[in-house]
């Protein structure tokens, strides 16, 4: 109790491609890594009644989300032989075409990295208390629901 280190996964606004590049580059010194698997969520210009999504505004129950993410992280590390695992999720407004989720796993071999990344994405979508509000070009809103 109190020993565990809760990492923050939330970043304000969109995740830049430069942040992703920097994260990849920082793994060049870990020479036991043979495979990286990356998932990126990008805000889509969905249409509804002839109107288009302009952005998504993300909010979360931060304490609970970080606690839950900590549990997910531990269980993924227990299940897969990973060298590294990084998760970043946007809060606030993210425009269409911008990146809102960045999941990054690394392992000695490809199968571990790929399977862990895929399982992480599902857990993030269905187990973390995060909500996305689609804001249309005419300022009307629709609350998202994950499928």
């Amino acid at each position: 109790m109190g020993e565990k280190k809760i990492k923050n996964i939330f970043v304000e606004g969109a995740i830049s491609s430069q942040k992703i590049a920097d994260s990849i580059q920082s793994h060049a010194s870990k020479t036991n890594i043979g495979a990286h698997s990356i998932f990126l969520g990008q805000v889509r210009a969905d249409e509804k009644d002839g109107k288009q999504v302009a952005s998504i505004e993300y909010t979360c129950y931060q304490d609970m989300a970080l606690e839950k993410m900590h549990e997910i992280r531990e269980s993924i590390f227990a299940k897969y032989e990973l060298t590294c695992m990084h998760v970043y999720h946007s809060l606030g407004n993210v425009m269409v075409g911008e990146i809102c989720l960045f999941v990054f796993t690394s392992s000695k071999h490809r199968k571990m990295a790929i399977d862990a990344c895929s399982e992480l994405v599902e857990a993030i979508k269905f187990e973390l208390p995060i909500w996305g509000k689609e804001i249309y070009q005419d300022q009307t809103i629709v609350w998202k629901e994950n499928k």
């Binding site: 969520g41 993300y58 909010t59 979360c60 129950y61 304490d63 609970m64 606690e67 999720h89 809102c100 989720l101 994405v121 993030i124 979508k125 269905f126 187990e127 973390l128 208390p129 995060i130 909500w131 996305g132 509000k133 609350w143 998202k144 629901e145 994950n146």
Partner: protein
């Protein structure tokens, strides 16, 4: 100390607030009933309840100082 209730996602729009302090309640069913009386739209809305960050599926006893969260289905990512 009272019970703190947090509203998230669409529930903020429905209740017009993200946080509410309430006098003590015996359990989550009693709390939920009061909230549905105050905000009838909640009755036709899908949401989960967490007490002190733990999701609950059945009625749950409440104590002073407890934090209750009302959460619609998640939609991160």
């Amino acid at each position: 100390m009272a019970i703190t209730v947090y509203f998230f996602g669409s529930l903020v729009d429905i209740t017009g607030q993200s946080k509410k302090e309430l006098n003590s309640f015996s359990d989550t069913d009693a709390l939920n009933l009061l909230l549905q009386k105050d905000y009838p739209t909640l009755i036709s809305t899908k949401y989960f309840i967490a007490v002190n960050q733990q999701m609950i599926k059945t009625n749950h006893e409440l104590n002073n100082g407890d934090i209750v969260a009302l959460m619609p289905p998640f939609s991160g990512g």
